[in-house]
């Protein structure tokens, strides 16, 4: 298996607090990797450093053979690493379709010159983007809601819309921040199936931070467990569940 992402001895401090304290692990290409750990383990901080939204104090993050740890977030995204947020960021007063179209990049209509000199290129791009948006909305099961205001979607549907928008950027690694938070139980199965379908059809790799361990244990091929800023262990869901240290990290020790 190829490692698409290598996290090497990453440290991130906030004043005297070492939120991430020397974390090392790899994410294998085409895998669904879960990143878990008890409250305060440093998951979200590490997640933000990978996405480029937070600078690291020391260490290296290598994506697809290139270092991305000193790269601004938008360039990390262009390189193919895109993150979602725990609270799905949708533009509520725009249609679902327009929300997805907004994510399309490299639009020749972005510059006046492009519009004047290459009207056909602009139209072609528009058509390609629409076709792609239709396809992605079908993939996440939102095609029936295409013309609805995004504000009318439920929490779970917003997560699906967020996923479609992220896929518009044609990423190779998608970082999902608590995809199950605020999603009604009825929609959870659906969301899981869509994630697995996207991985299967497009070969996209997922790194998922999630508190709902039932979900992680079902969705992930590999699970990285963090505790106190470090990686406690890495393994299959079954291995991780059977690991006494992991149980101790979550339930504490009776001492």
């Amino acid at each position: 298996m190829n490692a698409i992402l290598e996290v090497e001895d990453v440290v991130r401090t906030f004043g005297a607090v070492r939120a991430v304290d020397g974390a090392t692990f790899v994410v294998e290409e085409h895998s669904v990797t879960g990143l878990i750990g008890p409250n305060g383990a440093g998951k979200s901080t590490l997640f933000a450093t990978i996405a480029g939204s937070l600078k690291l104090t020391s260490g290296r993050i290598v994506f697809d053979g290139r270092r991305i740890d000193r790269t601004p977030e938008y360039r990390v995204a262009r390189a193919g690493v895109v993150r979602t947020y725990q609270a799905a960021r949708v533009l509520t007063r725009m249609s679902v379709l327009d929300n997805v179209l907004l994510a399309s990049t490299g639009h020749s209509g972005e510059s006046l010159l492009g519009v004047v000199l290459r009207p056909r290129g602009w139209r072609n791009h528009e058509q390609r983007a629409r076709a792609r948006a239709f396809e992605l909305l079908a993939l996440v099961g939102l095609d029936a809601h295409r013309h609805a205001y995004a504000g009318t979607l439920s929490g779970g549907q917003r997560k699906l819309l967020d996923l479609a928008r992220v896929l518009m950027l044609e990423p190779s690694l998608v970082l999902l921040d608590e995809p199950m938070a605020g999603v009604a139980p009825a929609l959870r199965v659906e969301l899981l199936e869509h994630i697995l379908a996207v991985r299967r059809d497009r070969g996209i790799t997922f790194l998922i931070v999630e508190h709902d361990l039932d979900f992680v244990m079902q969705a992930a091929d590999r699970v990285v467990v963090m505790n106190e800023g470090r990686v406690l262990t890495v393994g299959t869901p079954a291995e991780v569940r059977a690991n006494e240290q992991v149980v101790d990290a979550y339930l504490g020790t009776a001492h």
Binding site: N39, D143, E193
Partner: protein, 258 residues
């Protein structure tokens, strides 16, 4: 037989359109330590806040010493004999230890305050030595003792604690948990929410394990400590997310992942 000290039945509470506590039951008797544990998002702290009136319950009831106090204001509950130590911001950092206790004591008749504060200093000799020190300059464990003292000075019969071990060093946790046993021996019941489930269950007379806002398991603390179902609840186990959902239909246009 007298009614239980605290009796919570079918309590429902939440924030905005999210219902977090979905019909929780809990009973605490006098001189009992009760631990409420459960995975993240189980509704532990919300349950505690709903009992103490910090958020208004949407259903169910809270009875204290047999009387219905559902949705009562926190200050009224304090006067009735119930007090809560919040997880954070539970001391005034710029006030001294003694001043913090004074602030806590204002619910008492003026004549009784000094004696009560002296009693707290007896219970916490560590604080007596630091009575003129600012609370903000103390260590995490010492600060937690100040917070406990500030709640105890109101002479409660029931003490509610939100995550007493949060942010404390292992030594400080020992210090605080030892004090809880001492507090119980004074005839005060303790109901605590705790992330360190095993420490709490090892100490507790009764444990409640919550999951998604409801009671999952209840029993003597020691018994729950060895219950493999509790571990499964935390780490996800044989149960599938499909089983917790009301619909298992296939999303439109998709094949079920197999």
């Amino acid at each position: 037989m007298s009614p239980p000290l605290l009796e919570v039945a079918g309590l429902e509470a939440g924030y905005d359109d999210a219902l977090i506590v979905r019909g929780a039951d809990l009973v605490a008797e006098r001189e009992q330590i009760v631990a409420i544990v459960g995975p993240n998002g189980a509704g532990k702290s919300t349950l505690l806040k709903a009992i103490y009136g910090l958020i208004r319950p949407r259903g169910g009831s809270v009875r204290f010493e047999g009387e219905d106090v559902t949705g009562s204001r926190p200050d009224r509950l304090t006067k009735r004999g119930m007090n809560l130590v919040p997880q954070t911001e539970n001391v005034f950092p710029t006030l001294t230890v003694a001043e913090n206790l004074h602030v806590g004591s204002i619910v008492l008749p003026r004549a009784e305050r000094e004696a009560e504060i002296a009693r707290i200093f007896q219970l916490f000799p560590l604080l007596a030595d630091r009575r003129r020190q600012r609370a903000g300059s103390l260590s995490g464990g010492q600060r937690k003792l100040v917070a406990l003292g500030r709640a105890l000075v109101t002479r409660p019969r029931l003490l509610l604690l939100d995550e007493p071990s949060a942010g404390l060093s292992p030594i400080a946790i020992d210090l605080v948990f030892e004090k809880l046993v001492e507090i119980r021996s004074l005839g005060i019941a303790v109901v605590m929410v705790e992330q360190n489930a095993r420490r709490a269950l090892a100490l507790a007379d009764v444990g409640y394990v919550l999951d998604t806002g409801r009671n999952a398991y209840t029993g003597p603390g020691r018994q729950l400590l060895d219950d493999p179902r509790v571990v499964e609840l935390y780490l996800g186990g044989s149960s599938t997310i499909a089983s917790s959902s009301t619909s298992t239909s296939t999303p439109s246009g998709m094949n079920p992942a197999t």
